[in-house]
Subunit: 231 residues, 2 copies
DNA sequence: CCGCGACGTTGCTCTGAAACAAACTCCCGG
DNA sequence: CCGGGAGTTTGTTTCAGAGCAACGTCGCGG
């Protein structure tokens, strides 16, 4: 196994206050692994034995109902910690993490969490900040679900993905990982049919361009209007 | 101002590992205040300058949209910490807390948070456990919103309140704080009309008994069935 | 290069629940 | 004891979006 390079972690918020030697220490304890698109990194309800950092790729955090329906709670971008159940004194993962694109992640045994928070300055602070942001995000989604119509919710979901993972191209903002209509319907609590119809309409109106599993927002401003109740 | 009695805190999870003298210390730094039904303890977006513990009563945690609609994210029961923004490195409250019934709460300036977690054994652990539970709860609600029909959601909401605050009476399980149809519709993302119709039907079927702002679940088992998609 | 499975589109139907409307009842304060 | 506001009920209308159905299309693996 090749030694991991220190530059992987320098600059990432949880480690930004640390010196070279500390980062070395942390890396030497990490396991690194690649995940194919569609693979689960860990599953809801299973024993939380490791915590993770996404180095590259994108993840979907997913919950499944008894009825087999699933909903996408949030996405994880490179540089973010995830599976941080130990931070909340949980011993099982509260949701499943699936690679939305080919991904690369580091992980450490939960046993080290306590030591990381104690010994590495800024680690605890930044981890809890992340958690706070995530909690806020979920509350936003919940509010949206409860109050907005389907079209607004789908528009918001697309915007959220574009903001989080968007690359600017000459065509517009491109979502950096593969997304199906079904995925979007799982984010918004609707059906793939409705999503398909909306995207078709938007495409006709010149707001987005989309092919299989691939969406470019060509007119973000108009999409923002669509995400707003008074259109 | 009368000295607060130590028995108020003994036995509550965040303080259960502490001795008499430490509890004394904590109480001596606390402000205690009573809130009338309907009063806000703090508001969304305002500077988070204190954190709180609910001693008696019940709270609703509420978010309001720009459009003026509101949704109830969760309820707080006696003995729980709330407004613990500092635990997540936030400097504003992410939601509004409103007294659902006349309530009594202690509070401390945020500046003390760091000291509490450092000096009082078990405080940090228990606070983060609470947060973890709350996050899980919100995710459940989100999943429910996204996948269940209105009747199921309303049934779940009523059950949740009954479980959290229920007193057993000879009639059934009584929700311990005032709830209007509007409140329930704010928990479930529907209208007070629909909630009223559902409660009327359930009352006819002998599942609940309700008067103004007051609900008794007479047949919890049947309500559980109603909360399940396959009835 | 072909076939199959995953993904996407579009039409049609039907219903749950929102929207609109109106009236009733309880309770508090003056 | 009266008036008014907050909470509740019930009826009617309307339509967004789910459900069902069928077909089109892309791209991978054999």
């Amino acid at each position: 196994m090749p030694r991991l390079d220190e530059s992987l972690l320098t600059g990432l918020p949880p480690f930004s206050r640390l010196g070279r030697d500390q980062i070395r220490e942390i890396l030497d304890q990490a396991a690194s692994r690649r995940y194919d698109e569609g693979t689960a990194i860990f599953e809801e309800g299973f024993e939380a034995d490791r915590f993770y950092l996404l180095l590259d790729g994108y993840l979907r955090v997913v919950r499944t109902t008894e009825g087999g329906e699933q909903i996408i709670v949030l996405h994880i971008s490179p540089g973010q910690l995830f599976g941080i159940a130990p931070a909340l004194q949980r011993n099982t993962y509260p949701a499943t993490a699936v690679a939305a694109a080919e991904s690369l992640a580091l992980s450490w045994p939960v046993g080290l969490w306590e030591r990381f928070t104690r010994e590495y300055e800024g680690f605890a602070t930044e981890s809890y900040r992340t958690l706070g942001q995530r909690l806020g995000q979920i509350q936003d989604t919940l509010t949206e679900m409860a109050t907005q119509a389907v079209e607004q919710r789908v528009a918001s979901a697309v915007l959220r993905m574009a903001n989080q993972s968007g690359r600017k191209t000459d065509e517009g903002i491109e979502i950096a990982f593969p997304v199906t209509r079904q995925n979007i319907s799982d984010m918004t609590g609707t059906t793939l049919h409705t999503v398909s119809r909306l995207l078709s309409r938007w495409e006709k109106d010149g707001v987005v361009r989309s092919t299989r599993k691939h969406i470019v927002v060509t007119d973000p401003h108009r999409l923002v209007l669509l995400s707003d109740p008074q259109g």
